[in-house]
C-alpha cells in the first residue's frame, strides 16, 4: 500500500501537507482552481483587506538567485469583491480554502473575517507579519497584546480554525503560547523577512517601496529553526511551516522540524505549479523507501532523542 500523505491540521483534513502560501496565486477563483488541479493539499488566499488596495508601483519583485524579494503592497480587490471569488471556490473547490486576512485594527479584521466566513471559507489566517506595508501585518503583530485581542475577537465569531501567521521576530514559543491562549488554533511560520536590494548599475534601490520581504531558499534555515523551537516547547500546536520550500526535501525538512503541513510560496516562480506533484511524489517515495506508513509519523521526528 502506498504511504499515506493525509494530515490533520486543527480540524482541517488535508489530502497532503503541501499548502499554497498566502500571496501566491490565491487572488482569484480561476487560479485557486488551477492550484487544486496541480495537487495542493489546501489553499491560502492572498491577504484580503476591507477596501480594495492597488499595491505599490513596479518594480515589486526581484529575483535574487539565492531567493526573492517582494514588496507588492498587499494589492487585493477588497473583501466585498473577493467574496464572489470565495463563493465560487466554496462551491467548486474541494480542498480547504484558508482566507488570509489583513487589517489596520481589530474592527477591520473582524469585518473581513465575518464576510469571509459568510462566503464559506474553511479557515482563517491572520496576517500579523507582512513586513513592508505601513499599518498592517508586522506593525500589528509586533504589539502582542493587540494581536491577542484580535485573535480573541475573531475566535468569538468563528467556529472554524484560526491560524496566526507570524514573522520570524515573533516566532518564539512564549509568544506563540500567548496566541494559543487567546484562542488561536495554530500558527503559520514564517512570513518574509524585511529586506532591500540596490542595483549597483543604477545605484538605486530596485523596489519602488525600497523595503520588501525576503523569501525563498535563503530563509529556509530560519524557518526550520523557528518551527523546531515552537514544536520543542509546544508539542501539540498545529504548525504550518513556511519558508523556502522548493521541493520535497525542503518540505520534509520543515516537517522533521515539527511542521504538520508546509506552505509553498515563491518557489513557484522557478518550478511553477508542477512543484506540488514533485513534493507529493517525493514525500511518498521517501516514506516508502524508509518504511513509514504515514507522513504524520515524521512530524517533529528530528527532535527525537
Amino acid at each position: 500500500m502506498s504511504p499515506d500523505l493525509e494530515v490533520e491540521l486543527a480540524r482541517l483534513r488535508l489530502r497532503n501537507p503541501a499548502i499554497l502560501a498566502s500571496g501566491i496565486l490565491g487572488s482569484s477563483y480561476g487560479l485557486m482552481r488551477r492550484v487544486e488541479e496541480a495537487g495542493a493539499g489546501a489553499i491560502t488566499t492572498k491577504t484580503i483587506t476591507r477596501e480594495p488596495r492597488e499595491g505599490y508601483l513596479n518594480p515589486v519583485f526581484v529575483d535574487l538567485e539565492f531567493g526573492y524579494l517582494n514588496a507588492m503592497g498587499l494589492p487585493n480587490p477588497g473583501i466585498t469583491a473577493f467574496k464572489m471569488e470565495l463563493r465560487r471556490a466554496a462551491e467548486n473547490i474541494r480542498i480547504p480554502v484558508i482566507v488570509s486576512i489583513g487589517g489596520r485594527d481589530e474592527s477591520e479584521f473582524i469585518e473581513v473575517a465575518e464576510q469571509a466566513l459568510d462566503a464559506g471559507c474553511n479557515a482563517i489566517e491572520l496576517n500579523l507579519s507582512c513586513p513592508h506595508v505601513g499599518g498592517y501585518g508586522l506593525e500589528i503583530g509586533s504589539d502582542i497584546r493587540l494581536a491577542c485581542n484580535i485573535i480573541r475577537s475573531i475566535k468569538s465569531i468563528s467556529s472554524r480554525p484560526v491560524f496566526a501567521k507570524i514573522s520570524v521576530y515573533q516566532a518564539r514559543p512564549d509568544i506563540v503560547s500567548r496566541y494559543i491562549g487567546s484562542g488561536a488554533d495554530g500558527v503559520t511560520a514564517i512570513n518574509t523577512i524585511r529586506a532591500a536590494a540596490i542595483s549597483v548599475e543604477s545605484m538605486t534601490p530596485i523596489l519602488s517601496n525600497i523595503f520588501g520581504g525576503l523569501s525563498g531558499p535563503c530563509i529556509r534555515p530560519i524557518a526550520v529553526a523557528a518551527v523546531y523551537e515552537i514544536r520543542r516547547e509546544l508539542p501539540d500546536v498545529p504548525i504550518i511551516g513556511v519558508g523556502g520550500v522548493d521541493g520535497w526535501r525542503a518540505a520534509l525538512e520543515l516537517i522533521l522540524a515539527g511542521a504538520n503541513a508546509v506552505g509553498v510560496g515563491s518557489a513557484i516562480a522557478r518550478k511553477d505549479l508542477e512543484i506540488f506533484r514533485e513534493i507529493i511524489e517525493g514525500l511518498r517515495g521517501f516514506l516508502a523507501s524508509r518504511g513509514f506508513k504515514s507522513i504524520k509519523e515524521l512530524v517533529g521526528y528530528a527532535q527525537r532523542l
Binding site: G23, I24, L25, G26, S27, S28, Y29, G30, L31, M32, R33, R34, K46, G55, L57, N58, P59, V60, F61, V62, D63, L64, E65, Y68, N70, M72, P75, R88, S199, E201, S202, T204, I206, S208, G265, S266, I268, A269, D272
Partner: protein, 255 residues
C-alpha cells in the same frame, strides 16, 4: 534573474503618440516572437513591452504613450540613457515554419507581430499583415511590414487603405483567401472577435493578451485572465484560441 543593462541607441517618432526605441544590451538575449520584457527605469517604474525586433545585442520596442512610465519615456528618455530589462519572459507564439500566415494588428499591437513576421519570412513562410489604425496620421510601420510580405492597411477615418476597422478588413480577407494560421494582437475585443471567427472557420489562431503585470514571474496572480486562471506573464502572453474558448461563447463553435 537579474536585470540586463541596455543603452538607448536611437529613438524614432513613428506617430504623435508612438515611438520606437532601439536599445543596445550588454548581454545578448534570444527571445521568441511574442515574448516580452519588464523594462525598468530606476525611480520611474517598470512596464511590460513586447519585442518588436531582436538581433544579437540590438532590440527594438514600439511604445505607445499611455500613462506615467510610457509618458516619461516619450518626454524624457534620450539616446545614451540607460534602461534595465528582465527577460525574455512568458511564452511566445508556437509558430512553425509552414504555409501561409495571416497577421492581424490593432495599433501598437503590431509590435510582436513584426518580430514574428521577420521569423516567419526567414523560415520561408508566406506572410500577409493587416494593420489597423484609427486615422491616416496614426499609420506606422507600413514599410517595415512591406519588406516581409503583403500588407493591407485599415483606417477608421481617412483614405490610407481599407476604410473601416481591421476586424472588418479581416472578415473580408478570410472570405476569399486561404491561410494556415492566424496571429492577432490588439485590443481584447479584437483578439476575441478574430479568435472566434477562426475557431468557427477551423483555423488555428493565437493572440497576444494584456493584463497589468507586476511580478512577471507567475506568482503574484495580478495578470490572471479570469475565470480561466491563465497568467499573462507566464502561461501567455500568447494564447491559443482553444485555451481562450470558454470566453468566446463556446457553444456556437464547431470542431
Amino acid at each position: 534573474m537579474s536585470y540586463i543593462t541596455g543603452v538607448i541607441e536611437r529613438i524614432r517618432n513613428l506617430t504623435k503618440s508612438i515611438k520606437e526605441y532601439e536599445i543596445f544590451l550588454e548581454d545578448c538575449v534570444k527571445p521568441e516572437p511574442g515574448q516580452f520584457v519588464m523594462l525598468w527605469i530606476p525611480r520611474i517604474g517598470e512596464i511590460p513591452l513586447s519585442f518588436a525586433d531582436a538581433e544579437d545585442n540590438i532590440i527594438r520596442f514600439i511604445v505607445a504613450r499611455v500613462g506615467r512610465v510610457t509618458g516619461y519615456m516619450h518626454e524624457r528618455l534620450m539616446a545614451g540613457d540607460k534602461v534595465f530589462i528582465r527577460g525574455p519572459l512568458g511564452r511566445g507564439f508556437r509558430w512553425a515554419p509552414s504555409g501561409r500566415a495571416l497577421l492581424v494588428a490593432g495599433g501598437y499591437g503590431l509590435a510582436p507581430l513584426h518580430f514574428l513576421a521577420k521569423k516567419l519570412r526567414a523560415a520561408g513562410c508566406g506572410v500577409k499583415a493587416l494593420l489597423g489604425f484609427k486615422s491616416d496620421d496614426d499609420v506606422f510601420y507600413r514599410e517595415e511590414f512591406e519588406r516581409l510580405g503583403e500588407v493591407e492597411i485599415s483606417v477608421e477615418h481617412g483614405s490610407s487603405g481599407y476604410r473601416g476597422t481591421v476586424l472588418d478588413l479581416f472578415r473580408n480577407v478570410i472570405q476569399g483567401e486561404i491561410y494556415d494560421m492566424v496571429y492577432v494582437c490588439g485590443k481584447e475585443e479584437l483578439n476575441l472577435a478574430v479568435m472566434r471567427e477562426c475557431l468557427i472557420a477551423g483555423l488555428p489562431v493565437e493572440a497576444s493578451f494584456e493584463r497589468r503585470i507586476r511580478c512577471g514571474a507567475g506568482i503574484c496572480g495580478s495578470c490572471s485572465i479570469e475565470p480561466l486562471g491563465l497568467r499573462v506573464c507566464k502561461d501567455g502572453p500568447i494564447f491559443d484560441g482553444r485555451m481562450i474558448m470558454p470566453m468566446l461563447g463556446a457553444e456556437r463553435i464547431e470542431g
